[in-house]
Symmetry: C2
Subunit: 529 residues, 2 copies
């Protein structure tokens, strides 16, 4: 199917035509505990939303890039968290953007910002709109109007430096759009977040997105050679450099700034040859504790596997068909230059030293994956669509993630499971499901990712979700973890982020905000306020 003709869902994940089928829904319902699934709520019609009329008219020069189409406005009101989906399904959109702008050039971005500054219009930079933390949603701040700046029109790979293996890419390019262009040069950025299809380079940069691979280059930050950012006081462009020690890194100030001090328009990124050598294995462990020890040994070995994803027993059962109560470690190595079997051998030796048992597969093209691993991968990519179906069935779904040092990893996983489980029991009057996987590993720590399922109560979904978010975030803060390893802070995590952020650094960020966005129009409410 030609993607440009496909229609995006305004209320939920992804393509309209890729929504869960009736058969998938029936299968989901059958796997849920009895009594959890209600009748699916209908999707409201755009015409029935009764959006507040736009409160501002753009100047004539900008009119061609501004839309007031109700579906555009509804689709740019929220990100794609469970909380967003539930509110959209309920037709609860009291604060839609007044305008959706789609700049065609960087000059359009500059003109839009100039106008917004002078008119007191809040500007929310919007890439793929996949935020799960309230990152693209205006929640007040006294502005006269709100403009959602959709950057997906800036989607070109502008330049490729084959010698240095780097590419200059516009920030609005969605994952498949930029990979397709790089592919023409035999190159890949090889950054594959779960949201890959529906998130942009600029969104990844602004939120310090984590990719698919478990070690080495875990975040988009690691690929950045230089950034070009339009701020209200001018364009900031760093020099293309492989590394530098000249003062604090300019790029590191904009990475993670979530659109609050500037709009990233392009970046030079390190790209690479496509991997051709691959070897992978599924390793089972009988306890989570032993699995953690095995994973830690691998993480501290210097082997740096591409994949090192540990699913706890519940997650292995639900998503990878592992029915014997084992945890499953998905382990894989890749290289564009040299065979990786020796590295996998050594990693498997470390795993078996800690009680793992494995099945390995080694290929040059990676096509023949172990069954459990393959099952898990399919489920992974399908997950956001199924999440929407669960939301329509009245089931509460939340995912959150963190990172902590190894010394507290096991305790953190246990206590978060227990505390979130207890919160669900209290809020939902019955047990829920809390599963955990490790998505990224480091020599000094790990990034656990939790999935929560619970029976909702009609009309109370948002408040229950908020309470679960609060319980999980409190646990993370108490246990010395981060409020986010790669989902960003947005508005939903801000309360806890402010506790995590050192106070003098907070003062420094507020000073930066004031100097680069003196009118306070950029993504008001996130991060720096």
């Amino acid at each position: 199917m030609v993607e440009s003709r496909r229609k995006r869902s305004w209320w939920g994940w992804g393509w309209v035509d890729a929504a869960a089928t009736d058969a998938e829904r029936a299968e989901l319902v059958a796997r849920l505990p009895p009594g959890w699934a209600a009748d699916p709520v209908p999707v409201p019609r755009i015409a029935d939303l009764a959006l507040r009329p736009p409160r501002i008219v753009p100047p004539g020069s900008l009119a061609p890039v501004c839309s007031t189409d109700p579906e555009d406005r509804a689709g740019h009101t929220y990100g794609k968290s469970y909380r967003d989906v539930v509110r959209a399904l309920a037709g609860d959109l009291p604060n839609p953007p007044d305008l959706v702008a789609r700049p065609r050039t960087e000059a359009d971005v500059i003109d839009l910002l100039d106008w917004a500054c002078s008119a007191g219009v809040a500007v929310i930079p919007y890439g793929g709109g996949s935020s799960v933390v309230g990152g693209v949603e205006y929640r007040g701040g006294g502005h006269d109007a709100v403009l959602s700046m959709d950057l997906t029109g800036l989607d070109q790979v502008l330049e490729v430096d084959r010698i240095s293996r780097a590419a200059r890419i516009q920030a609005g390019a969605l994952g498949p759009v930029l990979e397709r262009q790089l592919g023409g040069h035999g190159l890949t950025l090889r950054h594959f977040p779960q949201s890959f299809e529906f998130s942009t380079l600029g969104g990844w940069l602004a939120t310090r997105a984590g990719g698919h691979y478990a070690t080495r280059h875990t975040h988009i930050d690691d690929f950045v050679e230089s950034l070009r950012v339009v701020t209200p006081v001018g364009v900031s462009e760093s020099r293309r450099l492989p590394a530098s020690g000249a003062g604090p890194s300019p790029d590191r100030l904009f990475l993670g700034s979530e659109g609050a001090i500037g709009v990233i328009t392009e970046a030079w990124l390190r790209v690479m040859d496509r991997p051709v050598h691959k070897a992978s294995a599924g390793v089972r462990f009988d306890t989570f504790g032993r699995a953690l020890a095995g994973v830690r040994a691998i993480a501290q070995s210097g082997l740096e596997p591409s994949n090192c994803r540990l699913l706890d027993a519940a997650e292995a059962a639900i998503n990878a068909g592992v029915t014997d109560g084992s945890c499953l470690l998905v382990l894989g190595f890749e290289s564009a230059d040299h065979p990786v079997d020796t590295a996998l051998d050594r990693a498997l030796r470390l795993a078996t030293d800690h009680g793992g048992t494995y099945r390995r597969v080694s290929t040059r093209d990676g096509s023949d994956q172990p069954d459990a691993v393959d099952a898990w991968r399919s489920a992974f990519l399908r997950m956001p669509y199924l999440r929407d179906t669960l939301a329509r069935l009245g089931v509460i779904v939340e995912t959150f993630e963190t990172a902590c040092t190894w010394d507290r990893a096991e305790r953190l996983c246990e206590e978060v499971r227990a505390e979130v489980g207890a919160a669900i029991g209290r809020l939902c009057r019955g047990p829920g499901i809390v599963t955990c996987r490790l998505t990224h590993v480091y020599p000094d720590g790990v990034a656990p990712y939790f999935t929560v399922l619970a029976k909702g109560r009609s009309g109370a979904e948002v408040s229950i979700w908020d309470e679960i978010k609060s319980a999980s975030s409190e646990a993370l803060m108490r246990l010395g973890a981060t409020i986010t390893h790669h989902h960003a802070v947005g508005r939903d995590h801000k309360r806890w982020y402010e506790r995590q952020r050192p106070d003098p650094f907070g003062a420094a960020l507020r000073a930066v905000k004031k100097s680069l966005d003196p009118s306070g129009i950029l993504n008001p409410g996130v991060l720096f306020h």
Copy 2:
């Protein structure tokens, strides 16, 4: 020899008792072009320096940690650049610090800063004092007095987390001091800048120091789990985390801040097991261009050698005894976990694909090194002492370094050699020597390091050095490189740093400076002003 009893040179590099011997001096003179070496200038006696009397008296509570001893003050007036050594030898110290403070605790640091803020005293944080860029030298700014804050009393490894392989270390620990303490736990930080013996953890962090190893963890930045920084408005302490996506990285603002927004007092750092598997080789190439191509292939292979140091023909001849006009690539792999011979084999294959010829050595303990490599390593560590001897003999010596992407690497090395050579011809009325080595390599670029030797003219050394610095820095800026890959900006590079730094980022940094150091007492004149 017990290091605490050894005496540091107040005017030059390192230990007094390790200065170049008469025999070394004679050998140096013999290797210089005829007529270059003048009679060695004598080292002035402290009593003859006639330092300006201290202009301020510390409050009684701080008196025990403050010194006005003339040798202390003279030794803390400058860093250790050629420019510094020449001025010290000439007895040219018009702006010595009025006080040298040696805090014993972090509370002392806080008290000193509080007093300095109220008394308008400039504070220069001072670690090992090895700056070669004017980083620890007060050059004016209207303060009533100047205090050099020597942090080497804060030198303890406070805590070791063996599970996460991390350690909490005080910022004033010199390289050998912290390695000795970590060694007791079987661990190493494995960060070995050339200044290792005479630079501190805090200095490395504040200047984003580069270490010895060519790939992977090239800068101290990569080892930082969290930082604790005393700023004039409070203590900033980041959470210990293996990674985080929660807003812009707090640590990355302080890394490279060169003491201008706070005094780093401690850090949690990622440490590692000591490597036991080692394999290395010396590879010769007949042209620099072919060597660059071979090194690039290795840098882009994902093999990540520990050493990948390319010496051009002049450098190979002078420092590694390679007399056939070849360039020498020092290539090495290390691991604490697994054999590295396969990796070296593959790297050597890539080198020979580009015309390299090699001699390899593989050991478990690395004791048996190839001759040329060994020769180079000894020369490397001895170099700063010999630099001082050359300075006394009236020879101009400068080293500078940079980084650029691969697409411009060869041109940069050529043009910098040519332009600096031409400047020397003009300034010194005769040819000089300009050599180049690559110290660090990246998939997208490289860090070249240049050494300059020229015949000086008595009394004109500083101005000639300044002109050479200007010629080299102009070339780096024009060619799209960085003003420093790991020597820092300090005061000597500031003019070019301001051209490299994007303007809006400069505005942001000035806002940060104002918010964290409102009295403007911290290392005035570097970086943010």
